[in-house]
C-alpha cells in the first residue's frame, strides 16, 4: 500500500473514533434536551385564570380579591360566547324536527369542547371531576383545545392501501349564516382575554399530592415512595455490601470457596432486573410473607439485592486502594486486625465507598422492573414511615411508565409525565455528579 493511502486510512480511523464519541455525546443531548425542556414546563408554565381559581378554591392559595376581580373580567369576555349560543338555540328551535336534531347534535359537540376549554358555563350544575369543574389551566393545553373548538375531525378512508387520514374541517362551515358564525373568530381572537395566561412558577409540583388522576397537583406521593424505596434499599445493601467487601479483601483466603463466592456475586450482577422482580414476588411476598401483598419493605429488599453487587465491588475497590502502609503502621502500633479495619482502613476507604453507594443509590431510585410486582401501585397517598412495612407506594419510575402508557388521557398530562422524568433524571444526575466530584477529590488527595 502507498504511504498516502496508509495515512488516509489512519486519519479516517481517527475520525471514526471521534465520530463515535460525537454520536455518543449527541445521543445524550438528544435524550436530555426534550426531557429538560418539556420537563421544566411542569414547573414553569403559562397558567390561566382557571389555574389560579383552582388553586384558590382547592388549596386556598393566592389572593381571593385579586382572583375574584380577574374572574369577573374574564367572565365578561366570555359572556358573548354564551349569549351567541343561547341565541342560536332559539334560532334552531324554529327549524323542522330532523334539521333540529342534526343542529342540536352539532351544537352539543361544540358546547362540550367549549366547556373543556373554558369550564362549565355560568349557572350550570358543578360536575364531579375536577377536570370538568375548571377550564384549561395551562395555556398550551388551552391552545390545543382551541383547535378542537375551531375544527372538526374527520377520517378519510378513501385510499384502502393507506391508513386512514385525518382531515380537519373548520366548524364555521357547519354554522354558516347563523348567529354562531361569529363565535369562532371571537373565541380565536379573544382567548387570551378569556383566560388571561400568566407565566407561573409552580414549585409545589414537587410537594403537592396529585388530584383527579394526575390532572392536577404534583408528584409528592411518587417522590416520597421513591425516597422510601431508595433509602430502604440502602439500609439493607450498605451494611451487607461493605461487610462483604471487608471480608473479601481483608479476611478471605484464596481458594475454591472464595472463587465460588465471587462467581455468585458477578452472576447476581448479571441477573436481569425483571427476574429480581419475579423473585421478590415469589420469595419475599409469596413465600416468607414479609407483607400481605406489595409493600415498600418487600420492594426495598428486592432493590437491595439488585444493587448489592455494585456496592460490594465499589467498596472492595476502595478498600484495595488504601495504601498497605496504613495497615502496616496501624498493626505495628499494636492494633488488632479488626481494629485496624475500623479505625484506619474504613476511614481511608470511605470516600471511595461513598462514591459506590451514591451511584448505586441512583440505580435503586431509577429501577422500575424490580418494583412492579413488589412495591409499586399507580395511585396512592403519601405513606407514613410505619406504613412502609405493609403498604405499597406510588414511585416515580413506575408512574412514569403508568402515566405514559396506561393513563386514560395520555396526551392531556404530558407535562406531568415529563415533569416526573425530569425529576427522576435530576435526582439520578445529582447523585452521579456528587460521585464524580467525590472521586475527583479522592484522586487529588492521593496525588497530593
Amino acid at each position: 500500500m502507498r504511504l498516502s493511502t496508509r495515512k488516509l486510512l489512519d486519519r479516517s480511523f481517527t475520525g471514526l473514533g471521534f465520530i463515535s464519541i460525537v454520536i455518543m455525546t449527541a445521543a445524550l443531548l438528544f435524550l436530555l434536551t426534550p426531557i429538560f425542556i418539556r420537563g421544566s414546563r411542569a414547573f414553569l408554565f403559562r397558567a390561566t385564570v382557571e389555574h389560579r381559581l383552582l388553586m384558590l378554591e382547592k388549596f386556598k392559595r393566592g389572593n381571593p380579591e385579586k382572583i375574584q376581580i380577574e374572574v369577573e373580567q374574564t367572565q365578561k369576555m366570555r359572556r358573548p360566547v354564551y349569549d351567541m349560543m343561547s341565541q342560536y338555540e332559539k334560532e334552531i328551535s324554529q327549524l323542522s324536527r330532523l334539521e333540529k336534531m342534526e343542529k342540536k347534535n352539532q351544537l352539543r359537540e361544540l358546547k362540550k369542547y367549549i366547556e373543556n376549554l373554558l369550564g362549565p358555563a355560568p349557572g350550570e350544575t358543578r360536575p364531579v371531576l375536577w377536570r370538568d369543574q375548571y377550564g384549561q389551566t395551562r395555556w398550551e393545553r388551552a391552545l390545543a383545545h382551541l383547535q378542537k373548538v375551531l375544527y372538526r375531525e374527520k377520517w378519510d378512508y378513501s385510499d384502502p392501501t393507506k391508513m386512514g387520514q385525518k382531515i380537519l374541517i373548520p366548524r364555521t362551515e357547519d354554522f354558516k349564516g347563523t348567529s354562531l358564525e361569529n363565535l369562532f373568530p371571537y373565541i380565536e381572537n379573544n382567548l387570551k382575554k378569556m383566560l388571561s395566561p400568566r407565566l407561573t412558577f409552580y414549585w409545589r409540583f414537587l410537594t403537592d399530592k396529585s388530584y383527579d388522576a394526575h390532572f392536577f397537583g404534583g408528584i409528592w406521593p411518587e417522590m416520597l415512595g421513591t425516597l422510601y424505596l431508595t433509602l430502604g434499599a440502602m439500609i439493607f445493601a450498605i451494611p451487607m455490601g461493605v461487610i462483604a467487601a471487608i471480608y473479601l479483601t481483608e479476611y478471605a483466603k484464596q481458594g475454591t470457596v472464595i472463587s465460588v463466592l465471587r462467581t455468585c456475586i458477578s452472576t447476581l450482577a448479571g441477573v436481569p432486573s425483571i427476574v429480581f422482580g419475579l423473585f421478590g414476588l415469589a420469595f419475599f411476598i409469596n413465600t416468607i410473607k414479609i407483607s400481605e401483598s406489595k409493600s415498600v419493605l418487600a420492594g426495598s429488599m428486592t432493590l437491595a439485592l439488585l444493587i448489592l453487587p455494585t456496592v460490594i465491588r465499589a467498596s472492595e475497590e476502595a478498600i484495595r486502594a488504601v495504601p498497605v502502609t496504613y495497615k502496616e503502621a496501624a498493626l505495628s502500633l499494636g492494633a488488632s486486625k479488626w481494629h485496624t479495619v475500623l479505625t484506619v482502613i474504613l476511614p481511608a476507604a470511605l470516600p471511595g465507598i461513598l462514591t459506590g453507594i451514591v451511584i448505586s443509590m441512583g440505580r435503586a431510585a431509577g429501577e422500575t422492573a424490580p418494583i412492579i410486582f413488589t412495591a409499586a401501585v399507580s395511585v396512592g397517598k403519601p405513606l407514613k414511615l410505619l406504613e412502609t412495612f405493609t403498604q405499597p407506594t406510588p414511585a416515580l419510575p413506575w408512574n412514569i411508565y403508568n402515566l405514559a402508557t396506561e393513563h386514560e388521557a395520555v396526551d392531556e398530562i404530558r407535562h406531568v409525565q415529563f415533569g416526573m422524568v425530569l425529576t427522576l433524571v435530576l435526582m439520578v444526575l445529582v447523585l452521579n455528579m456528587a460521585a464524580i466530584i467525590l472521586r475527583a477529590r479522592i484522586s487529588k488527595k492521593l496525588k497530593g
Binding site: 426531557i35 461487610i243 452472576t267 419475579l278
Partner: protein
C-alpha cells in the same frame, strides 16, 4: 522517657483462656463476616431455586414441546396457547440490533478514549459515559415512546436515508481508494496512475448509483408504527454503549505501552498499530464487553415494554426491523399483572419459565465472560 511504665510490661504470652477466647472470637467474627458475604451467594441460589420452582409446574402442565416450538402466543384465549418462539425471536432480534449499534460505536469510542484523545478531553468524555449509564431505563423508555417513536413514524424513511448516506459515503470513499491502491501496486510506474484513476471513477459511479438506489428505497418506506424493533434496538444500543465502552477501554489499556511502542517502532501508523496489534491483544476483553452488552440488552425491561410494540409475532420478512416485536422481559412485566392472582395456572407459570430461560442465559453468559477473563489472565501469566 517512660521509665516508670517500662517495668510494668504486659506479658507477651496469652493465657490459656485468652488464647482460646481469641481463637473462638476470631472464628466467630470471621464466621459472621463469611455469612454476611455469602448472602449474595445465597441470593443467587435462592433466585434460581424460586424461579425454577414456579417454572417447572408449567412444563408439567403443558409439556416442553409447545413452549419451545410454537410461535403462537395466545395465553388468554379460550384454548390458550403458549408458544414462546416468537417472543424468543423478538428478544434475540432487539438484542442483535442493539449489539449492531453498540459494539461498533462502543469499540471505536473505546479506541478513541484509550489511544487518541488527550487526557484533558478524556476527562470530559468520561462523565458523558457515566451519565449515559446512570440515566434510569424508564427515562430511556419514555424517550423512546414519547419522543423517538413519533419522530420515527413521521420522518422514518428520510431519517433512514440520511443515516445511510452519512454512514456509507465515507466508508465507500475509503473502500474505493484502498481497492484502487491495492489493485494497482504491482503495475509499472507509467500505467499505475491512469489505471488507478480509472478504477476510482468506475467504482465511484457504481457506489454512487447504489447509494442513490438505496436512499430512494428508504425514502419510500412508510413506518406504520414508531414503536418497533428498530426504535428499541437503537435505544437499547445506546444503553448498552457505556458498558461496552468502559469494559473494552479497560482491555485496550491493559494491552500495555510496550506493545504499542514495539509496533510504532516498526513504522506502523496508529490505525495499523491498533487494528493489527492492540485489538487482537485485547480481543478477549472486547469479547467480554460484547457479552456484557448483550446481557444488558436482553435483560432490559422498561424500554422494550414501552417502545417495542409488544406484538407477539415473528416479523415478516424475518429481518424486518420496522415491525413491532415482543420480548421476554416485556411479556413477563406486562402479563404478570393479569396472571398475578391466578397462582397455579399455566399463565402464571409460563412467565416464570420465561424468567428461568432469561436467568439461565444470563448465567451462562456471565460464566462465559468470566471464563474468557480467567483464560486471558492465565495466558498473560505464562
Amino acid at each position: 522517657m517512660f521509665q516508670n511504665t517500662k517495668n510494668k510490661r504486659e506479658s507477651l504470652l496469652l493465657s490459656e483462656r485468652a488464647h482460646r477466647l481469641q481463637r473462638v472470637g476470631s472464628f466467630l467474627g470471621q464466621g459472621f463476616l463469611f455469612f454476611i458475604t455469602s448472602i449474595s451467594t445465597l441470593a443467587v441460589l435462592f433466585i434460581i431455586f424460586f424461579i425454577a420452582k414456579d417454572a417447572l409446574p408449567f412444563f408439567q402442565l403443558e409439556g416442553f414441546r409447545e413452549f419451545f416450538t410454537s410461535t403462537h402466543w395466545y395465553p388468554s384465549a379460550e384454548k390458550p396457547e403458549f408458544g414462546v418462539m416468537a417472543i424468543f425471536y423478538g428478544s434475540a432480534m432487539v438484542t442483535i440490533g442493539a449489539i449492531l449499534v453498540a459494539v461498533p460505536l462502543g469499540i471505536s469510542a473505546a479506541v478513541c478514549l484509550s489511544d487518541v484523545l488527550p487526557f484533558i478531553v478524556r476527562q470530559y468524555v468520561k462523565p458523558v459515559i457515566e451519565i449515559l449509564a446512570a440515566i434510569p431505563s424508564v427515562a430511556y423508555g419514555f424517550f423512546a415512546l414519547v419522543v423517538f417513536a413519533p419522530t420515527l413514524q413521521k420522518h422514518g424513511g428520510h431519517l433512514l436515508s440520511v443515516a445511510s448516506w452519512l454512514i456509507l459515503t465515507p466508508l465507500a470513499v475509503i473502500f474505493i481508494i484502498v481497492i484502487s491502491d491495492l489493485t494497482t501496486t504491482r503495475l509499472s510506474d507509467k500505467v499505475r496512475n491512469p489505471s488507478r484513476l480509472a478504477i476510482i471513477i468506475f467504482l465511484g459511479i457504481c457506489f454512487a448509483w447504489g447509494l442513490f438506489q438505496m436512499s430512494h428505497y428508504f425514502n419510500g418506506i412508510i413506518i406504520t408504527s414508531g414503536t418497533n424493533a428498530l426504535n428499541v434496538s437503537i435505544i437499547l444500543g445506546i444503553m448498552a454503549l457505556p458498558t461496552v465502552v468502559s469494559v473494552s477501554e479497560d482491555a485496550l489499556q491493559a494491552a500495555g505501552r510496550e506493545l504499542r511502542e514495539g509496533s510504532y517502532a516498526l513504522g506502523a501508523t496508529r490505525a495499523e498499530t491498533i487494528i493489527r496489534t492492540i485489538i487482537p491483544a485485547a480481543s478477549s476483553g472486547i469479547l467480554a464487553a460484547t457479552i456484557l452488552g448483550v446481557m444488558r440488552a436482553i435483560g432490559e425491561t422498561m424500554v422494550v415494554w414501552m417502545a417495542s410494540g409488544n406484538a407477539a409475532q415473528v416479523p415478516k420478512p424475518w429481518y424486518n426491523f420496522l415491525s413491532p416485536v415482543r420480548t421476554l422481559t416485556a411479556t413477563i412485566a406486562g402479563d404478570m399483572g393479569e396472571a398475578d392472582h391466578v397462582t397455579g395456572s399455566s399463565r402464571y407459570h409460563v412467565l416464570f419459565a420465561m424468567a428461568l430461560s432469561l436467568l439461565l442465559f444470563s448465567f451462562l453468559a456471565n460464566l462465559a465472560s468470566e471464563w474468557i477473563v480467567v483464560r486471558e489472565q492465565k495466558k498473560l501469566g505464562k
